[in-house]
């Protein structure tokens, strides 16, 4: 598959965005909102922010929205499904970690039963990745398997790499990308020097990520030490809110409730006590540290056992926006040392 590569400048990128809009695509890209970077619908190219580490929210907000109406009941009690309107969408500037998160969501929402609401929103979406040249200190995407890294292109349809101050290497990755690259009027064909520059950028981006995690070893250590006092100790700092799960690009838990004549599906979090409370009142995860442990295990043990992938993409959002700065990387990477230290100590109160 000959992947056509072009080099365009900022203006070319703006022209590309307006071309996409003219072709009926809604373009969703990171923009500034209340002086923070959020994914949002952009009207013109200049709103697409290019100098940022990662947006606070992730494409999950658009593929699996915080609340959606799944069913509506008409007056004569017939059930009417409410499917999302089919709208052609382009996610522009998706970091490789968010793209891998979307792949995980695809897998979960089509595990045996196809979640039609998710598939309808996902089906028409084109992903245009943006390579990470300056990863943050809280990023650790390179140790999460599946070849994930700051310049990883496997899960997107097109890939943008910022070569220098104002020129971007744009390449089609999938057929969908091939079709779209024709919209680019301007821009010059990429030469081997551009490829070398891109490769060089990729290497030192990967070098900038100093946090290393041995996934399989962590999996084994955690799988064998579910009841260790380590989990109660590291969980003390966690206040039990839902920020980490709601801003996490891979967290997919939801609740379904009826309001009036609508059946609504909306985000839920395993950090809340009601999440697993039985009708009889019994709650398997009644204490805060059990709920905390459940989130960490779901990402590094459970999802791996069920769908053989780690459910974390190392984007660092849960640490950045946590009120107590709970760092999942620190907890998981120090699990082995921490657990052995607690094997001798009596469980602290």
């Amino acid at each position: 598959m000959v992947t056509e590569k072009k080099v365009i400048d900022d203006e070319g990128l703006n022209q590309f965005v307006s071309a996409l809009i003219q072709h009926g695509y809604a373009v969703i890209a990171p923009t500034i909102k209340a002086d923070r970077v959020f994914y949002g619908v952009v009207e013109k190219g200049s709103e697409f922010v290019r100098e940022y580490s990662n947006a606070q929210n992730s494409p999950k907000d658009f593929l699996f929205p915080r609340m959606e109406e799944i069913l509506r009941f008409t007056d004569d009690e017939t059930v009417v499904e409410t499917f999302p309107k089919a709208v052609k969408r382009v996610f522009l500037g998706v970091r490789p970690c968010d793209a891998m998160a979307i792949k995980h969501l695809d897998k979960l929402f089509n595990w045996d039963y196809a979640d039609t609401h998710y598939n309808k929103r996902r089906g028409d979406a084109v992903l245009i990745g943006l390579a990470c040249n300056t990863p943050k200190s809280s990023c650790f995407c390179t140790s999460l398997g599946g070849g994930l890294g700051p310049h990883h292109k496997k899960n997107v349809d097109m890939m943008l790499t910022k070569l220098d101050r104002s020129s971007y290497l744009i390449e089609a990755v999938s057929e969908l990308g091939e079709a779209l690259i024709s919209l680019l009027e301007c821009g010059v064909l990429a030469t081997s020097s551009h490829d070398e520059k891109a490769l060089e950028l990729r290497e030192n981006a990967e070098k900038m990520i100093t946090k290393r995690l041995n996934l399989d070893e962590t999996f084994k250590v955690m799988d064998d030490n579910f009841d260790s006092a380590y989990w109660k100790t590291v969980a003390r700092k966690c206040i039990g809110c839902g920020i980490c799960t709601y801003l996490c690009p891979t967290c997919h838990c939801f609740d379904i409730q009826d309001e009036g004549l609508f059946r609504l599906r909306f985000w839920d979090s395993c950090q809340f006590a009601l999440y697993s409370k039985h009708a009889s009142g019994h709650n398997p995860r009644d204490q805060p540290h059990k709920r905390f442990r459940n989130r960490v295990y779901h990402k590094f043990v459970y999802f791996k056992k069920n769908l053989d992938e780690a459910l974390c993409v190392g984007c660092g959002r849960c640490k950045t926006y946590c009120p107590s700065k709970v760092d999942i990387f620190k907890i998981v990477s120090e699990a082995e040392a921490g657990i052995s230290e607690y094997r001798s100590v009596e469980i602290p109160k």
Binding site: E69, G260, L261, F262, L264
Partner: protein
């Protein structure tokens, strides 16, 4: 609940009345037995004391589209439970300013002291409350299905 378009003359506001059973409920009963005429806009809920009313009841009423809430209890000093009405007074004076701050017109939450012998006063209180809430129009805080 479909909301028709109203002009304020013939539209009858829907008011929830929390009445303490020792005084105001008896007063309302007296008003009824002495055949006093007052607007049928009030739907009475009997409570043991005004301090039994949880502010969440009032807010839930507004959420379900009720146009006004009237809380009525014993005069200060003659509460069957000695200080129930004092506590309620303090509670609802805070709540009233809070709902005003968030954009609900405070006149939609009214409070009155009506004793068991004040049938006339009860009829008058309801007449005044209905008139005042009628000026405010229907409760359009939340549009149905607005997610």
């Amino acid at each position: 609940m479909r909301k028709k378009e109203f002009d304020s003359i013939d539209w009858e506001p829907k008011i929830i009345g929390f009445l303490c059973k020792w005084c105001s409920y008896a007063g309302a009963d007296l008003a009824g037995s002495s055949r006093l005429i007052y607007p049928p806009s009030i739907n009475i809920i009997r409570v043991p004391c005004t301090s039994r009313i949880k502010p969440h009841f009032v807010v839930k009423a507004f959420a379900t589209g009720i146009d006004g809430v009237l809380i009525s209890g014993c005069h200060p000093g003659s509460c069957h439970y000695v200080n129930g009405n004092y506590k309620a007074r303090r509670r609802f004076s805070v709540l009233r300013r809070l709902i005003e701050f968030m954009g609900i017109d405070p006149r939609r939450l009214q409070m009155s002291w009506v004793s068991a012998s004040e049938g006339f006063k009860w009829a008058d209180v309801v007449r005044k409350a209905t008139e005042e809430i009628r000026q405010l129009g229907p409760n359009r805080l939340f549009i149905e299905g607005e997610t």
